[in-house]
Subunit: 294 residues, 2 copies
């Protein structure tokens, strides 16, 4: 078992704000990730294809992937309708995002927080007791609308979502307002058995992950190449880069089961697909072990 | 007294790999930094103007700045000749870089490490006992040529430089090979009373600074906008961004004496001078306290 569990969100969060990439290239990316030893992947999103055109073709991606023994594929679903579409495709791991910020939730899914909690309960009713639901609490470290949110309130929302039918909670720094202090403040309330989803908006994704590691957190969402950011959060910055994080974890001596060199090959292919360098650093600089020729 | 002491290296390390910027704009940047509460600045470099054209006009920058009560101005000098030029301009704080990597030192200053140590002694002879000399040990966390360097050897070089006449040592992660583990390994040998000069090449500048803070290090070189990187270190990545670091320190509750909003104004002006966005994150996203309008 790896000491740090990485859920790769590149095919979903990483690509959702990009121009549409065809199904074949998205499937190839997922296959590359699996080849690198990534075993948990948020691969698709069953959102409105009109609202988020980059995520169109979720069913086709899943069909093309086929059965993947030993790999856990998550689908993001914004509501019961999305969950129904995902379930039809055989999805048994769901992420549902509810914001700790009422204003952000209204913009993102056009629901009140209470409506979103009820939606999680309705999703559980629809899919039955077996599938795994991870409730992602967004704006968990502050909201660009309301500012700081009390960690106790953020945790209470995570707990409400578990009571409504989620199996676990992940706390997301959607707009990059987390700092090591804010991470510590939340983990003091939640304990370390949470997932974290961190963004690089203010240059703190890695330092926040490190602070969380020191506090015992072991579940992280990361995105290949550091791609990503909500299409509804201006200047959201990318996600914590998978390869930058694996590079650090390898050096610190915490296992992930992921092969960095293979992952860098996958990142290089993705940069070719996108036609530009990735925001991640190690994808561009190479690992610290790669010496200069001359 | 601030709890964390920042030496701003933007006007030197930040600009050295950029196209030449005229003296007036560099003086305005330094004035902006001082207005922000930055009191220690590596302002100029007395290197070969042919080798590093961006640093031409060091004497004119210093003359235009005039006396700056309460502000410490450092000049980087590569050798005795540079030190003589700096001393003629009234400089009384010098940085001299010697690499822990023999191959890097040869490329950077065309000297063996022994020759560089002797050069520090010669600089001390030239300038007399009063001026302050900070010896910057570059490639302190690994070399792109030799790979990992033993912390004991790196520390020994810092000590040799102090014996040769330097007042203190700063350890530089010139090519972004430091990680929190490597920081801890070096500080275990040196103790925390060192300066650190960190680069973002592999996405670790901030996390390394944070790890160092936890170990008690309180002296950091940073660069406004995260600009910088050696012109002789390919893909060097920028320096730790001053405003990103101040943003984090403010939130963590460690004082710097620097006003973040003023600093962001300075960064915005610098971006205009350069004609492109700065690599630093907070300069682009704004501080976490700046809420969205809508």
């Amino acid at each position: 078992m790896p000491e740090v569990r990485i859920r790769e969100v590149g095919p979903r969060d990483g690509l959702q704000a990009e121009a549409y990439i065809e199904v074949g290239a998205r499937v190839a990316l997922i296959a590359d990730l699996i080849r690198s030893g990534v075993h948990t992947i948020e691969a698709v999103s069953f959102v409105s294809e009109k609202a988020v055109p980059a995520m169109a073709g979720a069913a086709a991606v899943l069909e093309s992937l086929g059965p993947l023994p030993g790999v856990t594929i998550y689908a993001l679903v914004p509501n019961v309708k999305g969950a129904a579409r995902a379930a039809e495709c055989g999805i048994d791991h769901f992420t549902v995002t509810v914001s700790a910020s009422a204003a952000y939730n209204a913009k993102n899914v056009r629901m009140t927080i209470d409506e979103s909690v009820a939606e999680v309960a309705a999703i559980r009713d629809l899919i039955g007791p077996s599938p795994y639901v991870d409730a992602v609490v967004s704006c968990a470290f502050g909201s660009p609308y309301e500012g700081d949110l009390a960690p106790a309130d953020v945790h209470a929302l995570g707990e409400r979502l578990v009571s409504a039918g989620a199996n676990a909670s992940t706390y997301a720094d959607t707009t990059g307002m987390a700092t090591p202090r804010r991470i510590a403040d939340l983990v003091a309330v939640t304990g370390p058995r949470i997932g974290l989803h961190l963004h690089e908006t203010r240059g703190t994704a890695m330092v926040n992950a490190y602070a969380a590691l020191e506090l015992g957190v072991r579940d992280f969402d990361t995105s290949i190449g550091g791609l990503g950011g909500s299409p509804f959060a201006a200047g959201a910055g990318g996600n914590l880069s998978t390869e930058d994080f694996v590079h650090l974890l390898d050096d610190v001596g915490l296992s992930t089961g992921i092969d960095l060199e293979q992952l860098l090959t996958a990142a290089a292919r993705l940069a070719t697909v996108l036609g530009r360098p990735l925001p991640g650093k190690v994808a561009n600089a190479g690992p610290r072990s790669r010496l200069a020729a001359g």
